[in-house]
C-alpha cells in the first residue's frame, strides 16, 4: 500500500466527515450523514491498520496493542451511548471532550519520545536518536497545551453539569478569587515560555512543565464560569477539542486530522457564538466569568407583588377553549421529567381541535439544541417545534401561551433599556392574549431578575412541579 494511496483514502474519509456535518441540515438527511461519518471513520482506521502492517513488514504484533485499546475504549463508549439519559447529554459531551484532550496529550508524549516511529524525524540524523524538526516541535507544543486545557476544563465542566459532586470546583456557583486574571496570565506566559524552551531544545523538562501548567490552566479557566453559562462552556470545549485534534494533525503531517479537527473547531466556535448571542453576552464576558455577582444587587430591589394564581383545572379549561396554544418549555420541564406528560397534554388538546405549537429558545436546555432532543425523545413531532425567530411573530395572534419552567427567556425586561438583560433575544410570550406560567415558586431565574410577565393582568400562575401540573391538566381535559 503506497503512501499516496493511503493519503487518497484519507482524503475520501475527510469528504465523508464533511458529509456527516452537512447531513445535519435537516432531520431526514441527518441519519444518512451519520452513516457517512461512520464509513469515513472505519475507512480511516482500516487504512491506518494496513499502513501499520506494511511498515512493520506484515508483523501484526503492534496491531494487537491497537486492538486491545480499541476493544476496551469502544466497549465503554458503546455502553455509554446506549445507557445515557437524554437529560444527561451535556455531561456525556463534556466527558467525551475530555477524552479527546487526554488522547491528544498521550499522542504528543509518544511523538516526543519516538519521532522516528511516526516518520517525522529530522533528515540526515540516525533513526535511533533522531530529533524532531523545528516546525513539528511548535505544532506539538500547541497540540499538547490545547489538549491538556481541553481535558482538565472538560472534567470541571462535567462536574459542574452533573452537580452531584461535593467538591467546591464541581459546583455550579462560580469560583472567584482576587488576582484570578493576573494568575491566569502569569501561568499562560510561563506555559508559553516553556513551549519556547521545548521548541528550542526538545527536552522533556519544559515539555512536562508546560503540560502540567496547561492542565492547571484548564481548571482555572472553567471554575469562574457559572452554571447558567454551561451551554457556552460546552460549545467552547467542543471547539478546543477540535483544535487539539488539528494540532496533532499538524505535528503528524496528517491532512485528514487537520481537516476533521478544523471542522470540529469551527463548529464549536459557531455554537459558542450562537449561545452567547442568545444570552446577550459577549464571549469574553462569559470566559472572564461572573454573571452571578452583578445579579445580587438587582435581586435586592425586589419586593413582594401580587400575582394571579390558578389551578391546573382552570388552566386546562382556558386552553381547551383556545384556538391556538404555544408551549414554551424550559429546563424546569426536563428537570421534572415532564416531557411525556406534555406530549399527552398536547395530544388531548389536539383532539379538541386546538392547534398546538412549541417555541424553543436557543438556550432552553443546558447545551445547544438540548430541548429539541428532549422533546423528540418524548415523540413530539419536530414539525410542531419552532425556533425563536420562526415563531416570535405568531405570539400576537395566539390565544394561550403555556410557559413551563422557563423564566429569563420570556422576560419582557429584555425590551426595556437599562435592564441588565436588555437586548437579549426573548420569546415574546407577553404578546399573547393569555399567558399561563407553571413554576415551582416565584424564585428568579439564572439572571436573578424579577419577571414582569408574571405580574401582568393576563397572566395566570400555576405553581407546582411541572410533571404533576401537566398530569392534572390532562385529567381535567379528560373530564371536560
Amino acid at each position: 500500500m503506497s503512501l499516496n494511496l493511503v493519503t487518497l483514502l484519507y482524503l475520501f474519509a475527510s469528504v465523508c466527515f464533511i458529509q456527516a456535518l452537512k447531513g445535519l441540515s435537516h432531520p431526514t438527511t441527518a441519519r444518512r450523514g451519520n452513516a457517512f461519518g461512520m464509513i469515513g471513520m472505519a475507512l480511516a482506521v482500516v487504512t491506518t491498520a494496513a499502513l501499520i502492517l506494511k511498515i512493520s513488514d506484515m508483523k501484526a504484533v503492534g496491531l494487537t496493542y491497537v486492538l486491545g485499546g480499541l476493544v476496551v475504549g469502544g466497549g465503554i463508549g458503546a455502553v455509554m451511548a446506549k445507557r445515557v439519559e437524554m437529560t444527561k447529554m451535556p455531561e456525556l459531551v463534556a466527558f467525551m471532550h475530555s477524552m479527546i484532550g487526554l488522547a491528544a496529550v498521550c499522542i504528543a508524549v509518544a511523538v516526543v519520545a519516538e519521532p522516528a516511529a511516526f516518520g517525522i524525524h529530522e533528515e540526515g540524523t540516525g533513526l535511533a536518536n533522531a530529533g524532531l524538526p523545528f516546525g513539528n516541535r511548535i505544532e506539538l507544543f500547541i497540540g499538547t497545551f490545547v489538549g491538556a486545557i481541553t481535558f482538565s476544563g472538560s472534567v470541571i465542566a462535567f462536574g459542574k453539569l452533573s452537580g452531584k459532586y461535593k467538591l467546591r470546583v464541581f459546583q455550579g456557583a462560580p469560583v472567584t478569587f482576587s488576582g484570578q486574571h493576573p494568575l491566569n496570565a502569569i501561568l499562560g506566559l510561563a506555559m508559553l515560555g516553556c513551549g519556547i524552551w521545548f521548541t528550542a531544545t526538545q527536552e522533556w523538562t519544559p515539555f512536562i512543565i508546560m503540560a502540567a501548567i496547561a492542565f492547571v490552566l484548564g481548571v482555572l479557566i472553567i471554575i469562574p464560569i457559572g452554571g447558567a453559562d454551561m451551554p457556552v462552556v460546552v460549545s467552547m470545549l467542543n471547539s478546543y477539542s477540535g483544535w487539539a485534534a488539528a494540532g496533532i494533525g499538524f505535528s503528524l503531517n496528517n491532512p485528514m486530522l487537520i481537516i476533521a479537527g478544523s471542522l470540529v473547531g469551527s463548529s464549536g466556535a459557531i455554537l459558542s457564538y450562537i449561545m452567547c448571542k442568545a444570552m446577550n453576552r459577549s464571549f469574553f464576558n462569559v470566559i472572564l466569568g461572573g454573571f452571578g455577582q452583578d445579579a445580587g444587587t438587582v435581586a435586592g430591589k425586589q419586593e413582594q407583588r401580587p400575582v394571579k394564581s390558578g389551578s391546573s383545572d382552570d388552566a386546562a379549561f382556558m386552553m381547551s377553549n383556545a384556538e391556538t396554544v404555544i408551549i414554551v418549555p424550559g429546563y424546569g420541564l426536563a428537570v421534572s421529567r415532564a416531557q411525556h406528560a406534555l406530549k399527552e397534554l398536547a395530544h388531548k388538546l389536539g383532539e379538541k381541535g386546538v392547534q398546538v405549537k412549541y417555541a424553543i429558545h436557543p438556550v432552553a436546555g443546558r447545551m445547544p439544541g438540548h430541548m429539541n432532543v428532549l422533546l423528540a425523545e418524548a415523540e413530539i413531532p419536530y414539525d410542531q417545534v419552532f425556533e425563536m425567530e420562526d415563531i416570535n411573530a405568531e405570539f400576537r395572534q395566539t390565544d394561550v401561551v403555556l410557559v413551563l419552567g422557563a423564566n429569563d427567556v420570556v422576560n419582557p425586561a429584555a425590551k426595556t433599556p437599562g435592564s441588565p438583560i436588555f437586548g437579549m433575544p426573548i420569546l415574546e410570550a407577553h404578546q399573547a392574549r393569555t399567558v399561563i406560567v407553571n413554576k415551582r415558586s416565584m424564585a428568579s431565574g439564572y439572571a436573578g431578575l424579577d419577571n414582569e410577565l408574571f405580574y401582568m393582568d393576563k397572566t395566570m400562575m400555576v405553581f407546582g412541579d411541572a410533571k404533576k401540573v401537566l398530569e392534572d391538566m390532562v385529567k381535567a381535559l379528560e373530564s371536560l
Partner: protein, 107 residues
C-alpha cells in the same frame, strides 16, 4: 526548485478546512445542534489514527503505552459519539412515522 515545507501545505489545508467547516455548520438546523456536538466528538476522535501509529510502531514502553491509552480514549469517542448521535437521530425519525400513521388514521 525549493520544495514547499510540510507546515505551509498543512496551513493551506487548515485554512480551507475552517472555511468549509464555517459554511457547512451554519447550514445545520438549530434543532439538531445537540447531535451536531455529539457527531463532532466522534469526528475529532479521528486522532485515533495517530494513536494507532503510536501503539503499533513505537518500541519504547512509554511511547507504546501512551499510544494504547490514546487508542482507548479515542475509541470511547468513536463508538460513543456515532452511536449516541444515531440514537438521537432515531428519535427524530420515529416521530416521522408515528405522525404519518396518525395522519393516516385521521383521514
Amino acid at each position: 526548485m525549493e520544495l514547499v515545507s510540510h507546515t505551509v501545505t498543512n496551513l493551506i489545508i487548515f485554512v480551507l478546512a475552517i472555511y468549509v467547516g464555517y459554511h457547512v455548520v451554519w447550514t445545520v438546523t438549530p434543532a439538531l445542534h445537540t447531535p451536531l456536538m455529539a457527531v463532532t466528538n466522534a469526528l475529532s476522535a479521528v486522532i485515533i489514527v495517530g494513536a494507532m501509529l503510536a501503539a503499533a510502531l513505537t518500541t519504547s514502553d512509554l511511547a507504546r503505552w501512551m499510544g494504547v491509552a490514546a487508542v482507548a480514549l479515542a475509541s470511547v469517542n468513536v463508538f460513543g459519539g456515532f452511536l449516541v448521535t444515531r440514537r438521537m437521530l432515531e428519535m427524530f425519525k420515529k416521530k416521522d412515522k408515528s405522525e404519518k400513521a396518525s395522519e393516516g388514521a385521521k383521514h
